[in-house]
């Protein structure tokens, strides 16, 4: 327990998030509906960043295709919501109308049950991530090669999902989720509930990941990052270690997508664009990798500023983001968490994270 909470920053972040949950649940009306919705989305992004931090910061494997699992969770929940909405309101989804389909493709069956959808999200993610991870880690593809291959994977998935024939709404994706668990999606209470659940899941995931990385398994993961060859020569099989943390990371990303899509009200292949996946890595890099709180802060900071700017000075955003990234990689190699340790020196060298 002590080890779990001996990082003051981590504890602070956790406490703030918990306060957020309490405010959302206990004080309806304290926050405008827009802010509630934004909070929920930020929580989902933070969870996504945590999932990437787990694999990049702790296992030293950079995935530039985490959008794949995020979108997988999103598509699964969207399928559930669409079928649910159709059962309640009788409205046929748009994509079936313009494709001229009268019934859902066979692989859509069963998704009207929430439990089935939730289980499928996890199972499909483990299968997909397991397959991709197994072949790559077994042939010891690592470093930038692994990053490029994951990026190619997410790109392939985007191309496939762009096709309407694939049966998931093509470029339009899916939208029109009017009902969730029988409640009207437009009800502010539903928005609040979704946001609170997202925050709560984030808190739980943070505590879980923290206990994982401070455990024996966590030390093995970090050892894997720092010197995989030595760990292997000490007699550890690194494949199951990497594969395990990789699958866990993918499942967390899928859960983030599962929470994100009902709140934003649309899923489409844009989530699978390589740029989106790269941006996740940027959140983590800005916040600070190898520290779960850093990932949370990075995701919330970057997306918070992005939301805030989107109607005020949208043209500034790309410049700010690229400036932030360059600043971080040159001056704060461990992300903004380094801010406290910073001494005036033009170019910093990394202290904690070694070459991967």
């Amino acid at each position: 327990m002590n080890r779990l909470f001996n990082d003051r920053l981590f504890t602070t972040v956790l406490a703030l998030l918990a306060i957020g949950v309490v405010v959302l649940v206990a004080m309806p009306g304290a926050i405008s509906p827009y802010m509630v919705n934004a909070t929920g989305q930020l929580a989902a992004f933070a969870l996504l960043a945590v999932s990437l931090d787990l694999i990049w910061g702790y296992a030293g494997v950079l995935s530039l295709g985490h959008g794949l699992y995020f979108a997988l969770g999103g598509y699964v929940v969207a399928m559930h919501l669409l079928k649910h909405a159709m059962a309640v309101t009788g409205k046929v989804p748009d994509f079936m109308q313009f494709m001229g389909w009268s019934e859902f493709p066979f692989y859509w069956s069963g998704f009207e049950h929430f439990g089935y959808a939730a289980v499928m999200a996890v199972v499909l993610t483990i299968l997909l991530a397991g397959a991709c991870g197994y072949v790559s880690f077994r042939s010891r593809v690592g470093g930038v090669y692994f990053s490029i291959i994951t990026q190619a994977f997410v790109y392939v998935a985007m191309l496939l999902m762009f096709r309407n024939d694939t049966g998931f709404g093509g470029n339009n994706g899916m939208t029109g989720f009017s009902v969730v668990f029988g409640f009207d999606m437009a009800d502010p209470a539903v928005t609040r509930g979704l946001a609170a659940v997202s925050l709560l899941v984030l808190v739980v995931a943070l505590v879980g990941c923290r206990s994982l990385v401070t455990s024996r398994f966590g030390r093995l993961v970090i050892a894997c990052r720092d010197d995989e060859a030595r760990l292997r020569s000490l007699g550890y099989g690194t494949l199951p270690i990497k594969l395990g943390v990789w699958c866990l990371s993918a499942v967390l990303a899928a859960i983030a997508g599962f929470l994100y899509v009902p709140q934003v009200g649309i899923i489409n292949p844009r989530l699978l664009s390589p740029d989106v996946s790269l941006e996740i890595a940027v959140w983590v890099a800005i916040g600070g990798r190898g520290a779960l709180s850093g990932a949370v802060i990075g995701a919330i900071l970057v997306n918070g500023v992005k939301f805030w700017l989107s109607s005020r000075a949208p043209e500034l955003w790309p410049f700010i983001l690229s400036g932030l990234v360059v600043l971080v990689v040159l001056v704060f190699p461990n992300g903004l968490l380094d801010l406290g340790r910073w001494r005036p020196r033009l170019i910093a060298t990394p202290s904690v994270v070694k070459r991967t």
Binding site: F95, R163, G173, T175, P314
Partner: protein
């Protein structure tokens, strides 16, 4: 200790948006009313959508110069959804809930409209949509300023099938793979089937958004065209940058409009910028406005736009004017007319004021709205590409046909 304090500070700053108190500014305070724009100024759609923001600003300036609406000055708030569909919903939500805009003007692709639609309906907002589109939709919260297929596609197809248009018998449909082309083609197939044209006389191909390598497809078109069965035409429903790419390959393979005419449904004057249109003369499009339209309102609009571009250093051509620009311009004026008639900016009041308003559109037609639906009565033009990167008017409707949202 200091270290931790600083760190907590960062954390606090990062979480500030979560904990911040509601920050609502009323749109009606201080004699201003806000109008929101949802057009991308970056990403794949930027070249087309980017123009429309400036048109909204120009129209707002025009109205403000006359003293505004109901005594209030119009303030234009523009977001940049960066051609990223989910961001349209996000920005729309922000506009309606935070900025409290009186009306939204936005979206080019049907995807983005479909994304914003639930947001607008949930918040009881008002969206003016300036593009011709696939129909089959009639939301009470959207004003469809441009034409549904019955008046934006069928007239051109009828023309091609007439003796004057070369008596087209066979159709090669190429579209971007999304809702608008799919729906248009579905409706066209139903239309041809009703006319007794067999299914063997058409082919349907879809390419992804932003597709540019049309070499193989145009080879297929040539092969299709040389097969027996009568005059072939191409019905082109690709959008954005795929349009000039398609035409460029058409030029290179030296196919003329008299051999295989292309009905490029989404092509506007801006798509011909940078193309050698000498080899494209004769290809068709179909819109509710063409730059060549002869009317005093168009002369005024063109010169206003040219001087606006010059004065505000707008990064687009001041000499090109396209239908969606005019539709956006109409939309702002229609909204102002309705708001003035209602004497209010409240959405239900403005909506009630729609029936009966009319406006002198630059196309030369007097466009109007009725109590039937939220569609606008517009004229129809069929354009034919000319040497000067523009469209000549090949045919135009006598008056403004009744817009029919559903079916063909």
């Amino acid at each position: 200790m200091t270290l931790i304090r600083r760190r907590s500070l960062i954390a606090g700053a990062a979480l500030a948006p979560l904990a911040a108190p509601p920050f609502i500014r009323s749109a009606r305070a201080a004699g201003t009313v806000k109008l929101g724009c949802l057009f991308s100024s970056s990403g794949t759609m930027a070249n087309l959508e980017g123009r429309l923001v400036h048109v909204v600003r120009m129209a707002a300036d025009e109205i403000n110069a006359r003293g505004g609406v109901n005594g209030s000055t119009i303030e234009v708030v523009a977001a940049d959804p960066a051609s990223d569909w989910p961001l349209y919903a996000q920005a729309g939500r922000q506009m309606l809930q935070e900025e409290k805009v009186a009306a939204l003007f936005g979206c080019w692709t049907s995807v983005s409209r479909k994304t914003v639609l639930p947001v607008v309906e949930q918040n009881n907002g008002l969206l003016f949509y300036p593009l011709h589109f696939e129909g089959d939709e009639n939301s009470a919260n959207v004003v469809y300023v441009n034409s549904p297929p019955a008046s934006s596609v069928i007239p051109a197809v009828d023309y091609l099938m007439s003796a004057d248009g070369g008596s087209a018998k066979r159709f090669f449909m190429i579209g971007s793979d999304y809702v608008w082309p799919r729906t248009i083609n579905k409706q066209l197939k139903a239309y041809w089937t009703a006319k007794g044209i067999p299914e063997t006389s058409w082919r349907e191909e879809y390419v992804p958004f932003g597709f540019s390598n049309f070499q193989t497809l145009i080879n297929q078109i040539r092969t299709f065209a040389d097969q027996p069965g009568g005059q072939p035409v191409v019905v082109l429903t690709v959008v954005g940058n795929s349009i000039p790419d398609f035409f460029r390959e058409f030029i290179n393979q030296a196919i003329k409009a008299t051999d295989i005419p292309v009905l490029a449904l989404d092509a506007v004057e801006a798509d011909l910028e940078g193309l050698d249109t000498k080899s494209l003369v004769g290809h068709l499009n179909c819109w509710a406005y063409l730059q060549a339209a002869k009317s005093p309102a168009n002369t005024k609009f063109l010169s206003d736009w040219a001087s606006y571009v010059k004065a505000k250093k707008v990064p687009f051509s001041g000499e090109t004017s396209i239908d969606p620009m005019v539709s956006t311009y109409d939309a702002v004026h229609l909204w102002a007319l309705a708001a003035a008639k209602a004497g209010s900016f409240a959405v239900p009041e403005v909506k009630k004021a729609f029936p009966g308003i009319s406006f002198d559109c630059p196309s030369g037609y007097k466009i109007k709205m009725t109590a039937d639906n939220n569609y606008v009565y517009r004229g129809v033009f069929i354009g034919s590409v000319n040497e000067k990167q523009g469209f000549d008017i090949l045919w135009q409707s006598k008056d403004t046909p009744k817009p029919v949202p559903f079916g063909v």
